[in-house]
């Protein structure tokens, strides 16, 4: 039964203070006309926004002060992220670094990596990409072939990653590479490395998505040198680290608030006197969102206690992405329009953006089918 426990977590006063502060920051950004809420989400890369956010002290808040953090709890970070998302801010540049790369480096990185990298992430000056997927290693991540070979003072990386979001505009990516034998469970012999994207031997080629955006990339490594102290954790611990990271990656509000602005603009589009069908549809969506928020805060509470609620995180992501994907379908049913990216209308623009982004919600960070299989494992079915 433990799998389904989502205990209530009361947010500490510090987290509520952070909510007050981040709302003030976002209001100032909006007042200055620095972003368009209905067009942005956590995939919008805006380095200036991230720099201002970092300067204001909202990135890396859970890390120790000596690394640029504020020793804040996971719950404070959760409040900041949910407010950034709900406001439709362009928070994509620092997102990965703040959510998973930074915490990995803090826990498993060398002293030099911590000293040199974490404060820059916290200042909003240094961004990260995730180098896991390869052409033949998608859901079956253990099949990665990119190889790291030991050389004097470090490692030499050869191979290829794909779908690396923001590789063309980030400072580093963490690359999962093969350093030894896979072993019987196929999970051995994998190691993670922090690779600077301006290193020699790296070739980044953009891939356009169907919306015409350049967000993800192919990254080729040819004899690319990485110093020893840019290895994350010990040799062969890559798999454990990657799977440990997933609870952080999957349970956050980015799994149900990516298109929150569509819901907000939909409510305004419908206006104060909805018909019965419109009111019901809105009410159902709000109830789903309410339970998702509740579950996500609960998982954050477990993470804060140092637990690894992998199955709960999978439950949140599966329900969250299903919700996110249903939103544009429901919107177009109860407030019909012909979506176009060229419109200045907030609702039409938000709908157009979301229709084109929605398929990715249940792919990135583990596909729906993989998550359901993890939940089934949690149920004892496999």
């Amino acid at each position: 039964m433990g799998t389904f426990d989502f205990q209530n977590v009361v947010l500490p006063a510090a987290a509520e203070q952070a909510r007050h502060d981040i709302r003030a920051f976002l209001q100032a950004e909006l007042d200055a006309g620095r972003f368009k809420p209905h067009r942005c989400s956590w995939t919008s890369f805006d380095r200036d926004f991230s720099r201002r956010l970092g300067e204001a002290g909202f990135i890396g808040v859970t890390w120790p002060e000596r690394y640029g953090g504020k020793d804040a709890s996971t719950l404070t970070r959760l409040v900041i992220t949910e407010e950034l998302l709900a406001a439709g801010s362009p928070c994509g540049a620092h997102w990965i670094a703040d959510r998973q790369s930074g915490p990995q480096i803090l826990r498993h990185g060398s002293q030099r990596a911590r000293d040199e990298i974490l404060p820059r992430i916290a200042r909003g000056e240094c961004f990260f990409g995730i180098g896991m997927s390869e052409p033949n290693a998608g859901s079956d991540l253990a099949a990665v072939r990119t190889k790291a070979s030991k050389v004097d003072g470090g490692w030499r990386i050869d191979g290829q990653k794909i779908w690396t979001t923001n590789a063309h505009q980030v400072t580093y990516m963490i690359v999962l590479a093969r350093t030894g034998d896979a072993g019987p469970d196929r999970h051995g012999g994998l190691t993670q490395f922090i690779v600077a994207l301006d290193s020699d031997g790296i070739d980044v080629r953009g891939i356009s998505d169907m919306a015409g955006n350049h967000e993800f990339n192919e990254v080729f490594f040819d004899n690319c040198f990485v110093p020893d102290d840019m290895m994350v954790g010990n040799e062969g611990e890559g798999w454990t680290m990657v799977t440990g990271e997933l609870a952080f990656e999957r349970s956050g509000p980015d799994r149900f608030l990516s298109d929150y602005q569509l819901l907000a603009t939909l409510v305004d589009e419908i206006g104060p006197e909805p018909d019965r069908g419109q009111a019901q549809a809105i009410g159902r969506m709000v109830a789903q969102l309410a339970s998702l928020r509740r579950m996500s805060v609960s998982v954050a509470g477990l993470l804060d206690k140092g637990e690894q609620p992998t199955v709960q995180a999978a439950l949140v992501k599966e329900m969250g992405t299903t919700f996110e994907q249903s939103l544009p379908e429901i919107a177009r049913t109860i407030a019909p329009t012909e979506p176009t990216l060229l419109s200045d209308d907030r609702y039409v623009g938000a709908l157009a953006e979301t229709v084109l982004r929605a398929p990715s919600f249940s792919l990135r960070g583990g596909t729906r089918e993989i998550l359901k299989s993890m939940i089934a494992r949690g149920l004892g079915l496999r």
Partner: protein, 332 residues
């Protein structure tokens, strides 16, 4: 809640589970289905003090934290306990006074109240009409038996006299007993669907076809995973409302809970029947004790559609910008 209170709640909950698990038999459930009030079971539940869980101590109650008290109701639903335990517990808390026997709550008008849960078996009924709340005692109640899909009594009552007028608490807003009943059924659904899921998982690991347990088929695994998501979501949103018992934003939280658990109930019932296939729709199998309750409870005290409309109206009236802050407030 201090440590001692927490321990107390834990002990009561454990006792209740043991009682339900040990005493609620198939025969009892079947007998209840046929309209027999389970008086012995009611006496045992009373001895364990369960109807007093939410009542204040000065009124002779146990005064558990509301989330813990509602957890008892969830446990009872997990075992399909065929008694108005939740109704009695809530009426006692609302009137700040224990009743002799089972109690219930309903809407009524002009001396009539329809579809009253366990109405004929009750020693007390709390009735809401346009003018407020009235309490009717055993000797003022007569009626005719009715049933829901699960065979639970939903009786038509004739109420003699005016009853005793009692004050309607502010925190229940205009919705009053509908909101109370909505949360009660929401919590019960979260318990019954958990049981249906457990039965589904057990069946999938035991039943073999094509030379292996059907749990080995990914299609079956994924159906049950869908159900597990719904069970988790339903419990979380029901707790979110239970926590606000007696507080200002109770009604909106109860509404959110009824909508979400009602939707979840439909999906979990569908999936668990699919997994059990033919065996699951027989009298002999116990799945139906839970799914028939889910199908009844989702429509009682306002269906998910009813409360969704209620929420949607309020949200649209306030506009898009107000939604996020109010959502945070209603889920904190």
């Amino acid at each position: 809640m201090d440590m001692a209170d927490n321990d107390m709640a834990g002990i009561i909950n454990e006792q209740a589970q043991r009682l339900f698990e040990g005493t609620v038999t198939r025969d009892q459930l079947t007998a209840a289905d046929n309209g027999d009030f389970q008086a012995t079971l009611w006496a045992q539940v009373g001895e364990a003090g369960l109807p007093l869980a939410l009542l204040l101590e000065e009124a002779g109650g146990i005064a558990l934290d509301p989330v813990q008290a509602f957890e008892l109701i969830r446990s009872a639903a997990y075992y399909a306990v065929p008694l108005p335990l939740g109704e009695t517990m809530l009426v006692a808390a609302l009137l700040n006074e224990a009743s002799e026997g089972p109690a219930s709550l309903a809407h009524g008008q002009a001396g009539q109240a329809s579809r009253v849960p366990y109405g004929q078996a009750c020693s007390r009924v709390l009735v809401e009409n346009n003018n407020g709340w009235r309490v009717f005692e055993r000797d003022q109640i007569t009626g005719e038996a009715g049933r829901n899909l699960a065979g639970e009594p939903r009786d038509a009552l004739h109420l003699q006299g005016d009853g005793r007028s009692v004050e309607r608490p502010q925190w229940l807003g205009d919705e009053g007993l509908a909101a109370v009943g909505a949360l009660l059924r929401a919590v019960q659904m979260s318990g019954a669907m958990r049981r249906a899921l457990d039965l589904g998982v057990a069946h999938a690991t035991e039943r073999k076809q094509f030379g292996r347990p059907i749990a080995a088929f990914q299609a079956v695994q994924h159906m049950l995973a869908d159900a597990a998501v719904q069970v988790a979501s339903a419990s979380a949103i029901a707790d979110n409302a239970a926590q606000a018992w007696g507080k200002e934003d109770f009604v909106v939280r109860a509404a959110l809970a009824k909508v979400r658990t009602g939707e979840a109930a439909s999906l979990v019932a569908r999936v668990t029947h699919q997994v059990h296939a033919a065996m699951g729709i027989t009298q002999e199998h116990s799945l139906h004790f839970y799914t028939r309750r889910l199908w009844s409870w989702r429509d009682e005290f306002g269906s998910d559609a009813y409360w969704a409309e209620w929420i949607g109206q309020a949200v649209c009236k306030r506009g898009g910008a107000a939604l996020w802050p109010s959502l945070v407030a209603a889920t904190s």
